[in-house]
Symmetry: none
Subunit: 241 residues, 2 copies
């Protein structure tokens, strides 16, 4: 098993099950277990909402009891908003998913469990979890849609697993290579001489400072060779007039 199992406990609306399946597949999760879906199974509304994630629904396993759906699971994280009276490790999603990922890496069959739309997971259900994670929400509107909760968790999983933050970089899709410093200096002198001839530098003492600022603007732009060429052309066009 390469990815955690998502377990929906007594979900009510087919639309939410479908949307959950869709977003699971968006983020590379594909094992879904559903405990006693209210409207039976299969559910056409779920299939509609799943769109290209319908394959997750086709492979989903349906159980009559939570205990059966959990039988082979070795590490279980539950999502819950309110903690009630339960002595249990509670963390945020990022850390909870990191724990799940670590447990999986060391060979444990791992699952993440979500309660029903109306009331979430009961104390009896939460008790089965190794850890509880809460998705922190605003007091003004704390209630997260089920599929949106699955979205957040699946997204966090994708961050842990295949995209370990290596993309944190300043990628640029450059069609043309970045201009060399020499090209930039040539552009700068071209601009300077035309501005000089145009009488742009009215106060001689300020010229050096102005050119420094202008150069800074060009550097900030990270101009490509092609862009530098275009700027030369623009300067020439404007001066021809």
């Amino acid at each position: 098993m390469d990815t955690p199992v998502i377990i929906l406990v007594s979900p009510q609306m087919g639309e939410n099950i479908g949307a959950a399946a869709r977003v699971m597949s968006n983020f590379g999760l594909h094992y879904l277990r559903i405990i006693t879906p209210r409207d039976g199974w299969p559910n056409p509304k779920a299939i509609d909402m799943a769109a290209h994630g319908a394959f997750v629904l086709e492979q989903a396993k349906i159980y009559e009891y939570l205990e059966a759906g959990l039988a082979d699971i070795q590490y279980l994280v539950a999502t819950s908003s309110n903690m009630r009276e339960l002595s249990k490790t509670v963390t945020n999603v990022r850390t909870g998913i990191q724990w799940a990922s670590n447990k999986m890496s060391s060979g444990n069959r791992t699952a993440i469990m979500f309660g029903c739309e109306r009331s979430g997971l009961s104390n009896e259900q939460l008790v089965l979890a190794d850890a509880i994670m809460t998705i922190q929400t605003s007091p003004r509107n704390p209630s997260l849609n089920l599929a949106q909760a699955v979205a957040v968790v699946s997204y966090e999983w994708s961050q842990t697993a295949d995209a370990p933050m290596t993309d944190d970089v300043d990628h640029r899709y450059d069609l043309s290579p970045q201009a060399s410093k020499d090209e930039l200096l040539q552009l700068s002198s071209h601009l300077e001489s035309e501005l000089e001839r145009a009488g742009f530098f009215q106060v001689a003492e300020k010229k050096a400072r102005m050119m420094r600022n202008i150069n800074n603007t060009m550097i900030k732009a990270g101009l490509s060779t092609q862009e530098a060429r275009t700027l030369h052309g623009m300067i020439n066009a404007l001066k021809r007039k």
Copy 2:
């Protein structure tokens, strides 16, 4: 402005607008702008789906043109899955949101922009962004529902707000506030009209593409209000000659 503005560009389904508003409010975001919603406004389906997040819809601002919806924005992050031919800073959501948060902290009005369900943001729209962030998805089902994309971004925002990761920062010592999109668009039209008069656009069909590249260069530079003013002056000086 304490939280970023969410901008939905030409959203199609009211359900998605409503679900986006709901999840925004779940994660403490409440400024929504909608550009040309396909089915008009207000939209009863949006209100239904928003549930307790309906207050976000009530306060939402509707615009006929993207340029109007962006006018006062100083730092704009666009979400996009495919990069096409555009030279632009691209990063993942976590970093993109971190940048947005930093820009907000230093006083810039900041927005995050989402395209329509069918086709996302066009190159003409993407060009207006200071940075692009991609939500990495699985090749098996890459297409994320609009409201789910808003969920992931809003969730990441909530993570930044209470747990600011201070590394990874786009440090810039801004002496002058960053130019608003409106200031940039005015600069762009000024330049365009002068280039037009100077006969710079020799092949009419290429003009749109050239202007897009020129705008992209300006946006990449992260111009300050002062720099934009200097560029106006430079254009005027060159044309006077």
